[in-house]
């Protein structure tokens, strides 16, 4: 593993020694196992030919901005997948926290301001809001985790329930104070600056602050996954919950904490989502978990449980975003992107299983 060049040389040497039949099998394996990367390469090359402004610094800036926006959700959900579960409530949790953050941080002179008596928006108030929405996200995660761990319910069922419940709360929330379901807009300048203010420009495209936040979060998650007892316990529980119990791992606590941490990530994602979209609607965050799950599976966080790396998740988010940026530039509209997303998830799962089967 340590030396990719040497590895490559060895692989080539081994390949030369194989029989014709084995060579063919080796090549099919190679193509199939990397199907999504090859697909990505095709799109990139095609787009680069068709659109001269695709391979530019500007679109790279655009790409990392998008990755930074989608990464936190994937980092959160990945923990649930490591525990052989998943989380369907992520998108709605983002919607709820985005709405709350939006309302807290509306312009004070905005005509349709939902709550008139909130304090003036300042950096302190923004940070209070950030902690508040992260806490709300964590509570949603805590509920998920509690039911999964305490009653051994399948995460699909639990998180489907919380997804619906959260959506109900969102609809309530949008009906408060005679708002009547209108999107929340008129976000304050301070809030927009705090999240989306330009740090620097790449090829004329501004790189917002939340790219930096995403880097910090990723480092934090890497530390938690690899260097803490909680991280080790998470992998142990995901790999074999029974054995973990016998080995003295607190399976209940670990499961609850993994979901809570995921929830906190959704809270953060909601915090930046409002600024990214300009306003928050009841449909904000819809299906966001699908992108996150797809990215995790592409990145090798297997549904088998107990496996996955932070670097893999980053790679997965990048691959997915590159494909979508390329397709957007080609003018493929969002309805088709849903079909493509679905096919990519299926394909990624099949690849995941295939790797697991062939490893023997």
């Amino acid at each position: 593993m340590a030396n990719p060049v040497k590895n490559m040389q060895r692989t080539i040497a081994e390949y030369k020694q194989m029989s014709a039949k084995d060579q063919k099998r080796f090549l099919t394996d190679l193509v199939l196992n990397n199907a999504l990367y090859i697909l990505m390469a095709i799109f990139v090359i095609y787009t680069a030919v068709k659109q001269e402004n695709f391979l530019t610094l500007g679109s790279f800036a655009n790409l990392i901005t998008q990755v930074a926006a989608y990464l936190p959700l994937a980092l959160g959900i990945a923990g649930c997948i490591v525990l052989t579960g998943t989380d369907l409530s992520a998108g709605r949790a983002v919607g709820l926290t985005a709405a709350i953050a939006g309302v807290f941080l509306q312009k004070s002179d905005f005509a349709n301001k939902m709550f008139q008596n909130l304090p003036e928006v300042s950096t302190g108030w923004i940070i209070v809001t950030l902690f508040a929405v992260v806490a709300i996200g964590a509570v949603i995660g805590l509920v998920n985790g509690f039911f999964v761990a305490k009653f051994s319910l399948h995460p699909f069922i639990v998180t489907l329930s919380t997804q619906l419940i959260t959506y109900g709360i969102i609809l309530w929330f949008f009906a408060l104070n005679g708002n009547n379901g209108q999107p929340i807009s008129g976000l304050s300048r301070e809030y927009k600056d705090f999240v989306g203010g330009a740090m620097f420009r790449l090829g004329g495209v501004a790189v917002p602050r939340y790219v930096l936040y995403a880097v910090i979060l990723t480092a934090l998650m890497w530390f938690i996954w690899n260097k803490t007892t909680f991280g080790k316990n998470m992998f142990a529980v995901g790999s074999n919950a029974e054995a973990a119990k016998v080995s003295g791992v607190n399976v209940f606590m670990t499961t609850v904490l993994v979901h809570t941490l995921a929830g906190a990530m959704y809270g953060y994602a909601g915090f930046i989502e409002g600024v990214r979209a300009g306003s928050v609607a009841a449909s904000t965050g819809l299906n966001a978990e699908c992108d996150a799950i797809a990215a995790c599976v592409i990145g090798g966080v297997s549904f088998v449980g107990g496996t996955g790396k932070i670097s893999g998740i980053i790679l997965g988010v990048f691959v997915l975003r590159i494909i979508f940026v390329a397709l957007t530039m080609l003018g493929v509209d969002s309805s088709s992107l849903y079909i493509i997303k679905g096919a990519i998830i299926l394909c990624a799962c099949a690849l995941d299983m295939r790797k697991y089967l062939v490893k023997k």
Binding site: F43, P183, L330, V332, I340
Partner: protein
Amino acid sequence: MEENRNISEHQEEQVPKFRGLYRNVNISVRSLDYIIAACIAVILVVVALELRNPGFTIMFDSRGGTDVEAVSLMYGELLEEPETPSREGYVFTGWYTDSGCSDMWDMESGTIQSDMTLYAGWQKLQ
């Protein structure tokens, strides 16, 4: 417990069993290959169909004013100012990205990123 009692003495030789979400999966590598190929094919077909008629649709919601026709544009293009709608008793203030009319679309520098709807802003005549 009982199912676990008979620990296999030949673990290394066994076909690996799926765990986790895949624990009930029983499928051959060959079938998986077909699924992968089919998924890739679907993606390529959808993209190919889309590329025959690429572009994004920009819809205009005149919100009570006269209708404005939608336009189709490519990624990164600038939107040209469409005809100005009119409405009895109101003055048109511009096109907004949200129905709350807080963010005005910048016709000079706003490039098209995806399908979108713009909302007409109106101010009541005194």
